[in-house]
Amino acid sequence: MTETVDYVIDIEGMSKYYALGEDKISAVNKVSLKIPGGAFAAVCGPSGSGKSTLLNICGLLDTFDAGQYHLNKTNVGGLNETERTKIRRKEIGFIFQSYNLIPVMDVFDNVAYPLRLLGKDKLQIKAETAKILEKVGLTKFATRIPDQLSGGQRQRVAIARALVKRPTLVIADEPTANLDTKTAETIVALMKELGNQFSVTFLIATHDERMTRHCDKIYNITDGVLA
């Protein structure tokens, strides 16, 4: 009897090209990738290797030119921007290297924003935001604006924002690149812990060894080709 595995990310022979004058540069070349639900996976590679491009495609921020991509069993290859936005809104969280918090919103509103997009009612938003802020240890910073926080605290806010809607997949692009070693360790541990708690799949682009140490699965990519 064979065990059926539910893959959150199921990519087959995906390629992505960029035009450079008359030349066509391959950023991702015939990549095949299967990541099961709840995994804490990393894509590693040097700068320009295509790891960010691969992540952006996985996060439906970018499109691809060839191959197939099933996200949570949905073929997302032929979707238009509106349909991709709808999926991102509901099922994908993002953690950026530079945090990308909204400077005029306080911590609470930054974290609550994805829930507002989902049209949840005020009480629900308040409860779920408070809960995730407690998990990331920022309850007492809820009324601060991002400028009043340290780098580590900002990344915690970004993690809370990514997870507050209980997404299927979280895309994290170099989440520890701007952090010191100690803070980076804490952030990775927090991401892993919350990933396990919420059964969320993490796909992280990194070349940070502090990060990869905690990952269940590591994919190395060079010149757009997955090793």
């Binding site: 709808k86 991102r88 809104r89 993002f94 919103m105």
Partner: protein
């Protein structure tokens, strides 16, 4: 955070730039309100002038409005007192003044000048014309004695042409209703100015009974109806169709006030063009500010898009910011315009006489609620449109391009 609070916080991000934009919107709003208010005040003044001169509604023979008379009083109204008695039963009517229009020559013995005369009830005439008939000398209503010499009021330029003054004896020469010539001695009781050069050169006001005697008629040219509430003009016009023997018709003042209509048409074009220019200035200024803001926040737009905002939701957010700028601008603009409307009467500023007039008029501006509502809505709408224009492209740019924006 509510959408408006978020918009307000974004507007306050770059305070100096936002204040400048709000001030542009405020000055644009105030300029539109002040110029619109000035135009409306001018229209109201001219309308009042025209209505006082002709009456709110003029009742006359149908042919009076359409044809030239072959002989004086050919289209006059017979038995005007019967019609006046009927009209005076209507409590919407304040006055019904019979008027007799005639022309002829006014002579001092050495020189004769053409005049345009009006036979009227002089005391009522003073009442309805109010400040639009300014007495330069004498007493316009010295009382009448039908058996004594006629007292006339003449325009100041007519008096100057005849070297006449109050108390001067003159002779009126006119064609009677049956086509023969008639003359009547008269004494000047008052010299007046209407503010109109052409009228002041020709004006003769005389009691209607003397005018009827001069023209040898019992008819009057027209009946001027003055209403208690001028908003009833349109509603009442048709009520007069059954008067007389069916050959009478009524016309509201607005259909006879050609000067009012031409000034209104001219001002509408001038202030309309001015309004379009001001509106475009506001639009471009707000577009410019918000385009800078959009450029600075392109990465933020990318973040919103990544998280799951649709382009139209991002555009809506910027439109709210435009609305905040518009509301702030409108508030300040309203205070400025209302302040000007409030202060101008105390400053006593005068506009120079317009073409054809000899006296200026006070520089005042009206401040009707409807004008404020319309201009406020326009400015807010322009700011929203500017925000839409400024943000549409950025909201639809590829997400990765937006996220990489520096």
């Amino acid at each position: 955070m509510s959408t408006f609070l978020f918009a307000l916080k974004n507007v306050l991000r770059n305070r100096r730039r936002s204040i400048t934009t709000v001030l542009v919107a405020a000055i644009g709003c105030a300029a539109l309100l002040i110029s619109g208010g000035f135009a409306l005040y001018t229209y109201a003044m001219l309308a009042d002038n025209a209505a006082r001169e002709s009456g709110h509604i003029t009742i006359a023979d149908k042919r009076f409005f359409a044809e030239e008379e072959e002989t004086p009083m050919q289209f006059g109204i017979d038995n005007p007192n019967d019609i006046i008695a009927v009209l005076e039963q209507d409590n919407r009517i304040e006055f019904v003044l019979p008027r007799l229009s005639f022309s002829g020559l006014l002579s001092n013995g050495d020189k004769s000048v053409i005049f345009a005369g009006t036979g009227a009830n002089i005391s009522a005439e003073i009442h309805v014309r109010g400040s639009f008939l300014q007495i330069e000398a004498g007493d316009i209503n010295p009382g009448k004695d039908i058996n004594s010499i006629a007292a006339i009021t003449i325009g100041k330029d007519l008096a100057r042409a005849l070297k006449a003054h109050v108390g001067s004896r003159l002779t009126l020469l006119a064609t009677t209703a049956d086509g023969s010539m008639n003359a009547m001695d008269a004494v000047i009781s008052a010299i007046v100015t209407t503010g109109w050069d052409e009228a002041d050169r020709r004006l003769v006001l005389i009691d209607i009974e003397y005018a009827q005697r001069l023209l040898a008629t019992d008819k009057v040219s027209a009946l001027s109806v003055y209403l208690r509430d001028d908003r009833n003009v349109r509603g009442m016009q048709d009520d007069f169709l059954t008067l007389g023997s069916g050959n009478l018709m009524s016309k509201p003042w607005s259909e006879q006030a050609f000067y009012y209509a031409s000034v209104k048409a001219l001002y509408n074009r001038i202030f309309g063009l001015l309004g379009v220019i001001i509106a475009l200035l506001v639009l471009f200024s707000v577009v410019n500010t918000l385009a800078t803001s959009v450029a600075e926040r392109t990465r933020e737009i990318g973040t919103f898009r990544a998280i799951g905002s649709y382009p139209q939701e991002i555009v809506a957010q910027f439109v709210h910011e435009g609305m905040v700028i518009g509301i702030a601008g409108v508030f300040i603009g309203n205070v400025m315009a209302w302040g000007a409307a409030f202060l101008l009467p105390y400053l006593g500023l005068e506009m120079p006489p317009p073409p054809g007039r000899s006296i200026g008029y006070p520089l005042l501006i009206s401040a009707p609620v409807l004008l404020y509502v319309a201009i406020d809505a326009l400015i807010i709408l322009l700011c929203c449109a500017a925000a839409w224009v400024a943000s549409k492209k950025a909201a639809n740019m590829p997400i990765m391009e937006a996220l990489r924006h520096v």
